[in-house]
Amino acid sequence: METTQYGRIVRDGLWENNGVLSMLLGMCPAMAMTTSATNGFGMGLATAVVMAASNLLVSLFRNYITQEVRIPVFILIVAAMVTLVDLTMNAWMHELYKVLGLFIPLIVSNCLPLARLEAFAAKEKPLPALMDGIFMGLGFTLALTAIGAVREITGSGTLFADASLLLGPAFKFMEMRLLPADMGILMMILPPGGFLVTGLLVVAKRLIDLAAGKEIQMGGAHSVA
């Protein structure tokens, strides 16, 4: 890139090259952690923090990391950032940690951060790399919240249940019951629901893109995993 196009980074991250819905990366947390919209949102935010930090670090060190050892160094940096977030949240944001703590170690096994380090941060200046980390992370959050919302509504009949635990009491208003308690289809909050909803949302995204007359960006073009 001659001049950095921040608009492009934002659009890519949030929609066009969305980590989950276009590149089909990070499938493990996308399915395992989306039994409710709140869970998906929390997992997404934690991932975004780690992605922003590790993208920035890799970009800062990009001239010292040689081609041969880049993958172990990337993994080291992601793992270090995850541990950092895990420890500091446990010590100083304990209420939030009790809700999110479960998700944080799982970020290490997410290949989306690794893919962005390899495809973007290792070649770009620190600021664009940071932006890419933030917006890819937010795009991931968006996708996980959407998957979580669909599964939660169809599975338990609620939306954003326990949001006040994650975001604070002010967000109590978000907690909604849309269907009576016994109407939910249990399967949707069990693993098969994750596959179904993720698949349907991938299709939905492509249909929207088609309708908008865009060329479909096939995923995986520059992914590592």
């Binding site: 039994t35 050892v69 541990t83 009790k98 338990s156």
Partner: protein, 200 residues
């Protein structure tokens, strides 16, 4: 060894060293706070099975470690009032529909149940998870019961001829919980002296 390889190894080593030192420092800085938070969590969860009226000590620090009948190490947290042991809480284990369930059982000095709470389980959401206080009050029904009340052969779910309700769609989960509590009380009956004894 080629010189090139050495450089790569040195770079990787340098990164490992650098981030290793960083993490060690952060671990140092946060260790105290994390310990304090863990203590608060413990206290909060114990206070659900050990009512505040029966204790004037901190059960988290008044413990004895024992082996349960399966050979698993369990920590017994003792509640004292005026130095006398008035009750205790310890972990019990039951097998559920999807693996082991971990519960905390509180009993008073006479062996009556003060309270039971589920600590961890993998039961089916919407069916077996009604054992959580968040999803139902089923688990509260055990408070006040003991090995003689109901009689030992009634410490079963109704389906097995006992007196405890299973809930619709799930029998295995309540069966596991009832069994775990019964075993927990039997353990208390046998090891009472050992659980009460020991230095404060």
């Amino acid at each position: 060894m080629k010189q090139g390889t050495m450089i790569h190894a040195a770079i990787l080593g340098a990164f490992c060293l650098g981030f290793g030192i960083m993490l060690a420092l952060i671990e140092q800085v946060t260790a105290e706070d994390i310990k304090a938070r863990a203590m608060e969590d413990r206290q909060a969860s114990l206070s659900q099975v050990l009512p505040a009226e029966i204790l004037d000590n901190n059960p988290v620090t008044d413990t004895v470690v024992m082996k349960n009948d399966e050979g698993k190490e369990i920590t017994v947290f003792r509640a004292r009032k005026g130095g006398e042991v008035t009750g205790m809480a310890y972990e019990i284990f039951g097998s559920g529909y999807a693996g082991e369930m971990k519960l905390m059982l509180g009993v008073d000095a006479a062996g009556n149940v003060l309270g039971v709470r589920v600590l961890a389980h993998k039961e089916t959401p919407g069916l077996g998870d009604k054992i959580e206080t968040k999803k139902g009050d089923w688990i509260l029904k055990f408070t006040g019961l003991s090995l003689g009340n109901p009689p030992v052969d009634k410490w079963k779910v109704k389906k097995d001829g006992g007196q405890f309700d299973q809930f619709s769609g799930a029998t295995i989960t309540p069966r596991g919980v009832v069994g775990a509590i019964r075993k927990g009380l039997e353990f208390f009956a046998v090891h009472k002296a050992e659980m009460m004894g020991g230095a404060q």
